[in-house]
Amino acid sequence: MTNSDKGLHKLTYREAVREAIREAMHKDERVFLMGEDVGRYGGCFAVSKGLLEEFGSERIRDTPLSESGFVGAGIGAALGGMRPIVEVMTVNFSLLAADQILNTAAVYLYMSGGQFNVPLVIRMATGGGRQLAAQHSRSLEGWYAHIPGIKVVCPATLEDARGMLWTALQDPDPVLIFENAGLYNMEGTVTATAGPVDIDRARVCRAGKDITIISYSASLHKSIEAAAILAKEGIEAEVIDLRSLRPLDEQTFLNSVAASHRALIVDEGCRSGSIAAEIAARIMENVFYELDAPVARLCSVEVPMPYAGHLEQAVLPQVDQIVNLVRKMVGADG
């Protein structure tokens, strides 16, 4: 029996995002995509390849290199009744639009006394590991998660890449979707009927009783790989995909930590002031007396992202580091 017989079809993360955009465009004529090079070039990461031909330049709009300008335009369109998907090339560049995102989109509903909500979706690439150096490799989703008024989601799986966009478009308020650029080539299968998924709950990807590894985005896959190695040594790690950083579904990881008594957070962001720090604090606040070891964090080394491949890998969290940390935490490091 082949995959297609079972209603499964093979695709990449990139294709899953593209399918999600196409579906949204077909389902709702208010939806359109705009950003730098999303049209003629097919998107900097080739996500929107072919969409210009399919939907035309009215709905697939190339913008000038002005993040503040086109994110602001997206806010205006959303206020005007449209359902824009704004693509920002990388999270580094989103800082040029930070004022629009944080000081306008996030607060407009509040500052207008509840009169105007901003149903805007902003997609952006995040993360390092592709030798794009300090210009393109930041992981600032944890930063955005600090801000009330927006939602911050991080699809790590094909199902989420495929299913989060529609739900985000249905949300009355701004939703930021962070796509780790290292995941675009990830291949897998989803069912032909894969549809919208929630964007506010964490998910237990792998059950285990000895430790809880809390992660999201690209780090999730490293955590899952580490868990498989640890399983061979008899260490059963539970792996949690946060999926959403704001809202943060703390109940899922608190329940897990309360049962496993150990927690490791793997986060590609820098450690200081990170979402990992927030999670560690919530564990302390809620299940301190269940802890059998100090909460541990594995984050990126706090330096500007190096260009050299080996240095870049040294900065990012790695599978062997997760394995070693867990061994130490469960007292299995000999």
């Binding site: 007396y289 269940e290 802890l291 059998d292 070891a293 935490m329």
Partner: protein, 374 residues
Amino acid sequence: MAEFCMPSLGSDMQAGTLIEWRVQQGDRVRRRDVIAVVETDKAAIEIEVYEDGVIESLLVEPGEKVAVGTAMAVIGTESAVKEQAMPAISAPGMHRGKVSPYARTLAAARGVDLNMVIGTGPEGAICAADIEQAAPAEPAKPAEQPGEVAEPTQRAAMRRAIASAMARSKREIPHYYLQTRIDMHRTLQWLASENAQRPIKERILPVVPLIRAVALALGEVPELNGYWLDDHHRISEAMHIGFVIALRQGGLMAPAILHADALGLDELMTALRDLIQRARSGGLRSTEMTDATVTITSLGDLGVETVYGIIYPPQVALVGFGKIIEQPWAEDGMLGIRPVLTATLAADHRATDGHRGAQFLDALNRYLQEPEKL
């Protein structure tokens, strides 16, 4: 700064429940002040503080049950600066090593003394696995038979405490037993005439001269007064005589008459009356629960003739008294009827031999033949 920790009020105590604080934050306390009341498996005990200082913070709320060694309050000591320079001195029952919060929770729930656990976690921390090792979770209890009445928790807890101490005693202590019959007519006659001159409230019970005689006899055989600890016999200079008191609701306690050797009959009577009253109403002090150096058990009121006692570890001797019974008694070729007491000694053969034990019973008998000197 010092931590005030849940004291161990006996070798069998694993946890205690704070009933009340007698102090507030900011209060100045002096060594031996009672600052808290703690409910153990046996009774409510008044807990004394070991430092002079000021209560900086109270860490445990009334109603909380915490394991022995858990910090309950922080006391700022006068010589805080000086103390910080010196290595901290651990009070008994205090654990200063690394312990994971979950391990502490488990230890408290299972009554594990953290001082007895070796940590195998990161940096030698005690973690849950170490507690599991020390005290595995109890297997699920079979469903209760219908009609079976569950034992009240408090009584069950006391039963467990007694079980733990007595099992340890029989497991570890090679007891030897000696028994002698003592003619009590001189003591009782002297006591009767003495009491006749006293108002009822000041009368002395027959057990008081017995305690006094034990104290004096122990003065001659001090090896029986002390502990067997860490493979060593430690003779105690102070003499704190534990006296077994049966509780009305069942169970027993053996609080100590502190410095019993320094007390005359009247003082002993006062001390004993006070001790019994407080044992039954709650309000024993922590030192009374922990510091006994030898124990007396008297079951005479119940008609028992001979007591074969079990030593309360880590003590090394227990003196048992039965009922004083009129019996035929031959002395100087004459047969008479005398009130006779059977006294027994249960002693730890690691600490003493039967010879010394015999000398103790002989001395005891001798003192009871000269009651006016008691």
